[in-house]
């Protein structure tokens, strides 16, 4: 039995380097195995494994929340200003200006959101998932509670990895309606790249 010891193994010898792959160990070993596109002399990493298996390094995931109550007008579908990030692995969420998620990898994303509605004499609380400025889904709608209520929901959405973006809008009908900072959250992650 023979053992081949090498830090890089190129798969393919095509004249076009992007048709070849390289399995390699990083220059400074860190317990990971990398897979790259290109020849062994300059592969571009596309995958990474460690002792636990595949490590998803290029899979956007984020979670953001509302840091203070947001007052709204009754009956008006209003974008929720998720202004604080809990995490944002690929810097795809804008928590400053547009409060939107614009993922940089094409694929199917699970989008989760929750809304805490506050006010009095409430007749309706709902939130909407918007893609590229238009509502695509109303995951939750409550007409049963006249004061504080908490609703949540999720869906899968395809994003092209360049221009597609996701936002959450909410609506509360009643007196002094607002989105409560407690439990207003927006999160998402890549479920499957395409």
């Amino acid at each position: 039995m023979s053992t081949v010891k090498s830090k890089k193994l190129q798969i393919g010898t095509d004249a076009t380097s992007s048709n070849n792959f390289t399995i390699y160990q990083p220059a400074t070993p860190d317990g990971t195995l990398r897979i790259g596109v290109g020849n062994a002399d300059s592969p571009t990493e596309v995958g990474k494994f460690d002792s636990n298996g595949y490590v998803a390094t290029n899979a956007p995931a984020f979670s953001a929340y509302l840091s203070a109550d947001q007052s709204v007008s009754s009956g008006v579908i209003t974008k929720i200003q998720f202004d604080t990030e809990e995490f944002d692995t690929n810097n795809c969420f804008d928590n400053i200006t547009n409060y939107r998620f614009t993922p940089t990898v094409a694929g199917y994303y699970q989008i989760n959101a929750s809304l805490r509605s506050e006010g009095s004499s409430l007749s309706l609380a709902a939130f909407y998932i918007y893609k590229n400025g238009s509502s695509i889904f109303i995951p939750a709608l409550d007409t049963e509670h006249s004061s504080t209520t908490h609703i949540s929901g999720s869906t899968l959405v395809h994003c092209n990895g360049t221009s597609d973006y996701i936002e959450i809008y909410g609506r509360v009908d009643g007196s002094s309606p607002k989105f409560g900072n407690d439990n207003c959250r927006f999160s998402g992650f890549l479920a499957r790249a395409v």
Binding site: V72, S73, S74, I77, T78, K79, L124, I138
Partner: protein, 58 residues
Amino acid sequence: MILYEKIKTLYTELTDEDFTPEGTIMLQNDSDGKGDYIKSWNHPTLAKPTQEQLDGVQ
């Protein structure tokens, strides 16, 4: 007076049903500092009010 109330003042025949998520009128605010506006108006008989009409409601 909020937008919803202005519209109801202009068109007293409108009901709350017109403003439900399945209704004919959709009001929106994009949290961009521009305020509430009529996102869509699909009422079968009443015309979408102009900004001038809305501004005239006290």
